[in-house]
């Protein structure tokens, strides 16, 4: 952005030094650093604070991506805001138009560098996203043999869970810790979206279709299950709770509800 130099200087090194001697460049840099810090703090401190407890590896990956993207994009966002802030400090007061500025029509290298850098950032985002996606998929295939199958049925406006292998039905989502679980999600009427917050799983429930999502709960504790797709009058109330428990507790729960432990 900042090498619109008017003086013709012989060496690139000299040009760079002259550039950084300019007060507007120095000020823009200072604001860039300040803004970058703001975005980094936002990413590193606030997002993890806002997001719910991490209770699976998928959820961990999601948090990592949101925080990571914020931090990566912080320098670019900082530069944009740095230049804008610098311009504001240089504003013109009064009721008549300001004096003419330099007639810069374009600057080839700047446009080039800007495009390439934003392309690289875009590439990082894409590669990272695909890598996480792949590792999630691999994890799911690896765990699918021993997976606990839970049929999730959405209907206006309740969730119900069928543990097909264990012969148990429930309106609460009970899961054993550290065992892969495969949700087979479907709907009896309109579209719903199955969303157990802390597990980092979200998948739509479609009528007469089964969509599959999987995860491995890695932490004991309560789960909130919500519906994330507007499904009619009581969409807001289509929620239930659940729990990740130890294997023993889970087996006890299964037997006490008339099921059999495999």
């Amino acid at each position: 952005m900042s090498n619109h130099d008017e003086e013709l200087t012989p060496t690139p090194g000299q040009r760079a030094i002259n550039l950084f001697r300019r007060t507007d460049v120095q000020r823009a840099l200072l604001f860039t650093i300040l803004w970058t810090a703001v975005f980094v703090i936002l990413g590193l401190y606030f997002y993890p604070k806002w997001m719910p407890e991490v209770m699976s590896r998928d959820m961990k990956a999601m948090e990592r991506i949101i925080v990571g993207f914020t931090v990566i994009s912080a320098p670019i966002a900082g530069l944009v805001m740095g230049i804008a802030t610098q311009a504001i400090t240089n504003r013109h007061k009064g009721d008549t138009p300001p004096p003419d500025g330099p007639a810069i029509r374009t600057n080839g290298p700047v446009v080039m560098v800007w495009t390439v850098v934003s392309g690289i950032f875009c590439l990082i985002a894409v590669v990272w996203g695909i890598a996480e996606l792949n590792s999630m998929a691999l994890e799911a295939t690896a765990g699918s043999k021993e997976a606990l199958h839970v049929q999730v049925i959405g209907s206006q406006w309740v969730w119900s869970f069928k543990y097909t292998d264990l012969g148990v039905e429930s309106d609460k989502l009970m899961l054993p810790i550290n065992r892969p679980v495969e949700f087979e999600v479907t709907s009896e009427d309109v579209n719903h979206s199955f969303w157990p917050l802390q597990l980092g799983v979200k998948v739509d429930a479609n009528r007469l279709q089964t969509t599959v999502a999987d995860t491995v709960p890695t932490k004991l504790g309560p789960i909130d299950v919500k519906c994330a797709e507007l499904c009619g009058l009581y969409h807001a109330y289509m929620e239930t709770s659940g729990k990740v428990m130890t294997t023993t507790d889970f087996n006890n729960w299964v037997t006490s509800n008339g099921g059999h432990v495999a």
Partner: protein, 621 residues
């Protein structure tokens, strides 16, 4: 509005068309004929024994009444006189065309089928402000209801309807907010044209849109729209009679958009002044044209989705009914094939307005005109390839999520170019902080936040958490309201002197700016937090854990509300009693500032000849 008398400097003979039908028709006759048609259709399509099993009787009669209202209104206002006269081989005479252009008819022409592009521009402006006011009022009710957990203020049914009505009202308003008023009033003057390419179709696009407004409002009396503005099937097929209003609104609006888009595109392609080569076209014209040109192929798929919804609801076809081979996924595809280009249809003109403003207020040329074009073209081109990122979690074909993630994230590159153009233009300038320029800085911040949060949402794993949450709502309000609407308001402040002949009241304008922008940040910061915490969108009631974030949001919403009321007052007051504006108050170099106010009927006495682009500011230029 009293200042809008057409007092041109021309001495012109009073036109004397034969006392034909044309002179007798206006909005009043349109409403009368439209209402008659609506009632006639409603009773003609009542249940009868022959078709008893075949139709959903209530939907059939209501939908027919709504569509016939629109057709009846257009007949009553005289929209079809031109085509009819063509059909019978008796084309409109020059006198009749002059009459239709509203020559010498004062304020009455605003209520007629008037073909003057400046009249249509003002009609759009007033219509858009009314829609934004209604939509904003509904937003205030939504936020009031969400001030505390538990949803005690209004019931679930009213709440869901508010969400749907607010959404669709605002989307319709935002699609036309820049290209309606400025694309019609300013753009033809900017390119040195005497009128739009098709003046009668220009009037048609506005009046067709006008007929959609009462149809949409009728939803309130028919049980509301319970589906949100996305109207996902099969919920929309299951929904009550109010849904017909939504379907009819979109069918009507799609016609209006196609006609307006084709008209603006044709005007820019075929009516530019002598010498205005493509690299001399003002950047607003480029952005607005790309926007409407993108809308031309995008909207028909939404129209098709609504046709299918209508046939599912009325004739019991099964497009969205899985029992008979349909699928809600089909709706989502058709909807988002329109829906994602549509957000850029909304965004591009707003950004283009700011690019038009920036050089004037920093007295520097636009930085890299070519980068701006590439940015617009890149966004428009990519936007048709990204629709399925709204369906990552729908389960339709998870293997295609990866490719759609790639196309979506690629959009950040042309978007980055738009930032570069805006920043490069203000760099090393001394920005003159008038109202339009404040808008530029607000949009840089808002679009930055909207853009970065958009990158999270474009990422499949992150979207897995954020999809369908308040985070999404906050994200798209940052882009649509924070960027596109702020850009359009900046455009209003910029072109107000040309459109009304008066200056916009500055103290009130500044006050409104700070209220809306600060309130906006508070409002949607709260909503980002609520989304990150895991609050789903479109919920009337939420758990106590989201208490504080929602309270923050509601507080911010009231600030925004106050700001917009002040802005509305400023616009109305300044329009009536503001300071008389000089011909070119900002010292800009585009053509619209070379014509006096009121702008003569055909804009220019002498057709202008263009020798350079309008950005020749700066030392040594």
């Amino acid at each position: 509005m009293t200042t809008l008398h057409n007092t041109s400097t021309h001495a012109r003979p009073i036109p004397n068309p034969k006392k034909s039908l044309i002179t007798k028709l206006n909005m009043g006759t349109g409403i009368i004929v439209g209402v008659i048609f609506a009632f006639a259709a409603y009773y003609a399509f009542q249940p009868n024994a022959d078709t008893a099993g075949f139709y959903n009787q209530q939907n059939k009669a209501l939908l027919a009444a709504m569509l016939f209202w629109s057709v009846g209104f257009l007949i009553g206002i005289g929209a079809f006189i031109g085509p009819f006269r063509w059909l019978i081989g008796k084309d409109l005479t020059a006198e009749e065309q002059l009459y239709l252009a509203g020559d010498g008819q004062g304020i009455k022409r605003y209520f007629k089928y008037c073909t003057d592009h400046k009249v249509v521009g003002i009609q759009y402006l007033v219509g858009v402000m009314a829609m934004l006011a209604v939509g904003g009022g509904m937003a205030m009710m939504i936020r009031t209801s969400l001030a505390v957990p538990g949803g005690h203020f209004i019931g679930a049914s009213v709440y869901n309807s508010l969400v749907g009505m607010h959404g669709i009202t605002m989307i319709v308003a935002m699609i036309i907010v820049a290209t309606g008023p400025f694309g019609n009033y300013i753009m033809p003057i900017m390119i040195g044209a005497r009128d739009m390419a098709f003046p009668r179709l220009n009037a048609l696009s506005w009046w067709v849109l006008f007929t959609a407004i009462p149809v949409l409002c009728s939803a309130w009396f028919l049980g509301g729209i319970p589906t949100g503005w996305t109207a996902y099937a099969p919920l929309s097929v299951q929904a009550g009679p109010g849904m017909n209003a939504f379907v009819a609104t979109i069918l009507i609006f799609a016609v209006s958009t196609a006609v307006a888009g084709m008209n603006i595109t044709s005007t820019v392609v075929a009516m530019r002044a002598k010498g205005m080569k493509w690299n001399r076209v003002p950047i607003f014209v480029v952005g607005a044209t790309m926007s409407v040109a993108l809308a031309i192929p995008a909207f028909p798929t939404f129209m098709l989705a609504m046709v299918q919804t209508a046939t599912d609801r009325v004739f019991n076809t099964g497009f969205y009914d899985a029992n008979v081979g349909g699928s809600g996924w089909l709706y989502a595809h058709l909807f988002w094939i329109m829906g994602h280009p549509e957000v850029y249809v909304i965004l591009l003109p707003g950004i283009a307005i700011l690019m038009e403003i920036a050089p004037v207020f920093v007295r520097k040329p636009l930085f890299s005109y070519n980068a701006a074009i590439m940015g617009f073209a890149g966004i428009a081109g990519l936007s048709v390839l990204v629709w399925a990122h709204h369906m990552y979690i729908s389960g339709w074909t998870p293997t295609l999520n990866g490719p759609f993630m790639v196309t979506t994230e690629m959009i950040s590159v042309p978007t980055g170019l738009l930032f570069l153009v805006m920043l490069g233009t203000i760099w090393r300038g001394k920005p003159w902080m008038k109202l339009p320029m404040l808008g530029l800085f607000a949009v840089i911040w808002n679009l930055l936040i909207g853009g970065i949060t958009g990158i999270y949402l474009s990422d499949v794993p992150a979207d897995n958490y954020l999809h369908g949450s308040m985070f999404v709502t906050a994200h798209f309000h940052y882009t649509l309201m924070g960027a596109a609407l702020t850009g359009a308001v900046a455009g209003l402040a910029y072109w107000f002197p040309k459109m009304t002949g008066r200056m916009l009241n500055e103290p009130a304008g500044y006050t409104a700016f700070w209220f809306t922008q600060i309130g906006f940040q508070v409002l949607f910061l709260g909503m980002f937090i609520a989304g990150a915490e895991g609050q789903p969108r479109r919920v009337v009631s939420f758990a106590a854990m989201y208490k504080y974030s929602n309270m923050i949001s509601t507080g911010g919403a009231y600030l925004v509300g106050i700001g917009f009321i002040i802005l509305l007052w400023a616009v109305i007051h300044s329009w009536r009693k503001g300071d008389i504006a000089p011909q070119n108050p900002w010292g800009a170099k585009t053509l619209e500032w070379t014509v006096p106010y009121p702008v003569p009927l055909e804009n220019f006495d002498e057709a202008p000849i263009i020798t350079s682009d309008p950005y020749g500011y700066g030392k040594g230029n």
